[in-house]
Symmetry: C2
Subunit: 431 residues, 2 copies
């Protein structure tokens, strides 16, 4: 943890808010080789990668209905119930994002509107590892289902027994995922981007992952497959005032830090006492955590920042553009109105980030690494195209025809002009 008192805007802010970066050029070369291999050799490449990376021999990649049935039986009831409760809230929040069609008559006879059209084929990547990230399945598959995506394809690496964790399979089945494949890493991204004999090519790829997955997504994106957003380590910024509960704040900072050693937690306050209290509370709570080592290492990236007042705290936050912003101040509602850059905002003492990570209803796939300056988190919008439609009557075209003709003419696009003129001059009975 680094404590910084009254830093100056400019260079000092830049120094404090630096994110962890890593040299990726070596990994990039390795990922390129993997992508190429999958593109050229399809399933055969996947089989050899599975042996190499997952240490397991697979005959087929698709999870069978029987495997799903087995998984459903294995998930404890308390977890099923929790997942279902989260499902309902996430569905409720994302369902509200379905727009009503609003036809605008911009000029008499000129009707324009937008309509959502689902992205037909979407891919969801769920990392493997010790803990099953079934919450991310909820966050990606629920909006995909609401959008009406035809194929919702999930890839996740198999364990040493050639299986995907039962909680992931249970959740994927609950959410209407249409196909599930036991493929992980950059080779999963390659499969989704190019398609193989057994895995269908998709139009857009979603989901978190390690550096291999992240770089693979970036590379296939440049080559033409859409992705959810650029990714970086997870992060939180908490603003607290003198009346904030230091234990709550410490718990939130530690929750962020347990994600990985490159996670970043920042506490910003206008109260020097609170700065000290939070520091002490962090050290106390840390001792009780199972993931103490990861968390301790991540705390090296943590910052406790003292500023002159709460508006300055919010300016600092907007400069940092945090993935998660928690506001624990007496004037939290008012401060929340001043948020310019953030992924998701948690207002008040009883809104911990973990509520939004799992079950409040908002999406937890959010822009990191300062991308909150320009990117939104995942929402229903991420799974649709908003297509514009327009219908002009003959009268409508008459009303804007001259405008189009003049503008086209000054842009030296005479065929554009002519496509209006020919209609206005036509002696037809069409309308």
């Amino acid at each position: 943890m680094q404590t910084v008192k009254y830093p100056q805007k400019g260079q000092e802010y830049i120094e404090i808010t630096k994110r962890a970066t890593s040299n990726t050029s070596e990994i990039t070369e390795r990922v390129k080789t993997i992508l190429q291999d999958v593109q050229q050799n399809g399933d055969a490449a996947l089989k050899s990668f599975s042996e190499k990376f997952d240490k397991v021999q697979l005959e087929t990649f698709q999870v069978s209905n029987n495997e799903i049935k087995e998984a459903i039986a294995l998930v404890p009831e308390e977890l099923k119930k929790a997942i279902q409760t989260a499902y309902q809230n996430i569905e409720k929040f994302h369902q509200q994002q379905v727009p009503t069609i609003n036809v605008i008559e911009t000029t008499i006879g000129v009707k324009c509107w937008r309509q959502n059209s689902a992205i037909s084929n979407v891919g969801i990547y769920i990392p493997g590892g010790t803990a099953p990230l079934f919450s991310t399945v909820l966050m990606l598959a629920i909006p995909a289902k609401i959008a009406g995506c035809q194929n919702i394809v999930l890839c996740s690496p198999p364990n040493l027994e050639g299986k995907i964790h039962e909680a992931i399979l249970y959740t994927a089945n609950l959410c209407g995922v249409t196909q599930i494949y036991k493929v992980g890493g950059a080779q999963a991204v390659a499969s989704l981007a190019y398609g193989t004999e057994s895995i269908p090519k998709v139009d857009k790829i979603f989901g978190p992952g390690n550096q291999y997955v992240t770089i693979a997504k970036q590379l296939v994106n440049v080559a033409g497959t859409a992705i959810d957003m650029p990714a970086g380590p997870s992060e939180v910024l908490v603003i607290g005032d003198k009346n904030a509960n230091a234990d709550f704040i410490a718990a939130d900072l530690l929750a962020q830090s347990e994600h990985g050693t490159d996670s970043q937690s920042i506490f910003v306050t206008d109260s020097e006492d609170k700065l000290k209290e939070v520091e002490i509370a962090i050290l106390q709570q840390l001792e009780l955590l199972p993931r103490k080592e990861i968390t301790k290492k991540a705390l090296e990236n943590a910052r406790l920042v003292l500023l002159n007042n709460l508006d300055e705290c919010m300016d600092f936050s907007n400069f940092y553009a945090p993935e998660h912003l928690i506001i624990q101040t007496d004037n939290a509602d008012e401060l929340a109105q001043k948020v310019i850059n953030a992924g998701s905002v948690f207002i008040g003492a009883y809104s911990p980030e973990s509520a939004g990570d799992y079950a409040s209803g908002t999406n937890h796939t959010l822009p990191t690494h300062g991308f909150a300056t320009a990117y939104s988190g995942v929402s229903l919008d991420s799974f649709v195209k908003k297509i514009t439609f327009q219908k002009l009557s003959k009268e409508g075209l008459k009303n804007i025809g001259e405008t189009v003709e003049i503008m086209a003419s000054y842009e030296a696009l005479d065929a554009h002009k002519n496509s209006v003129t020919i209609r206005l001059n036509a002696k037809t009975n069409q309308d």
Copy 2:
């Protein structure tokens, strides 16, 4: 023009719908050098690029208020009036995209909502060349202004006299562009991405351009600056039935083809007679066009496709995913309901693409090259982040607390669990 009768789905569709691609590796290397030079040497690099590429020596890059005043005086009244009419329609359509805030109580005491926050700094690139693309200024600056972007920075290359065309300056001023710079090409993209002594760094870059600009946008995107969308040559697909007006269709196909030699126009019909009529009409109208040479060359990419029925025509269109789709059939409204992949759709005989290119109100910055399968055109959404907010009361946290605790526990994230537990157990008077 290539005529194809009754092609089969699968390989034949793939062949017919192939877009023009070009080998870009050589250009990519040149663009990388330009980006690096601007990043390292700022304005000095821009000055030397201006001498080299624009053949003009510039002392300063920013367009002065006096230059804007002069430009306003130079624009003919008829063009001003046309631009203003288009402005009103575009503003009306995009203004309607401002959402109302909708607070969802997903569970009692758990309130969640989304709120638009403008991207603070946006850059708009407008290409130079013989014709001034003031219409693109309208399409990008109007939604930026409605969104509330603080800095709307426009770059466009200077002509041999060191000026930007008066119609571009007039339109930029009308739309509330905050700064205008005489910089073009990849070096303009670099300036917007990294900032120089005189040009501010932006968060997102919009606008069309040649291959250098397109590749520069792609490269700065991978490095962290958001961009509007990947770009490719412009294209139209027209569906017409036996009652469609062949002259109108020919005019629309030619309008697309005059954009550039790599533009693509496709006509799909269920009527063999109409196929022939349209072909004849194209050849007749072509003779009268000033940009005949470009258009003729682009027509080499054109396809006239005969299919069995109109539903098959729509399937073909969805497979192609055209930037622009024009439906000139008796059942146009019905067919429009079946659009899955397209940028913008023009319904009926009196809705030429050029209406939407200029003045109907819809945006003309649209996904090309098949990206309409996963990307939307530019809209107000492109200039904002949709930030999620949540506020839980103590009761709200109690209602979903156990759900969060159980899920966090199964994901092995105990500090996440603890951030809820510590609040539920706290004996405070906060609520």
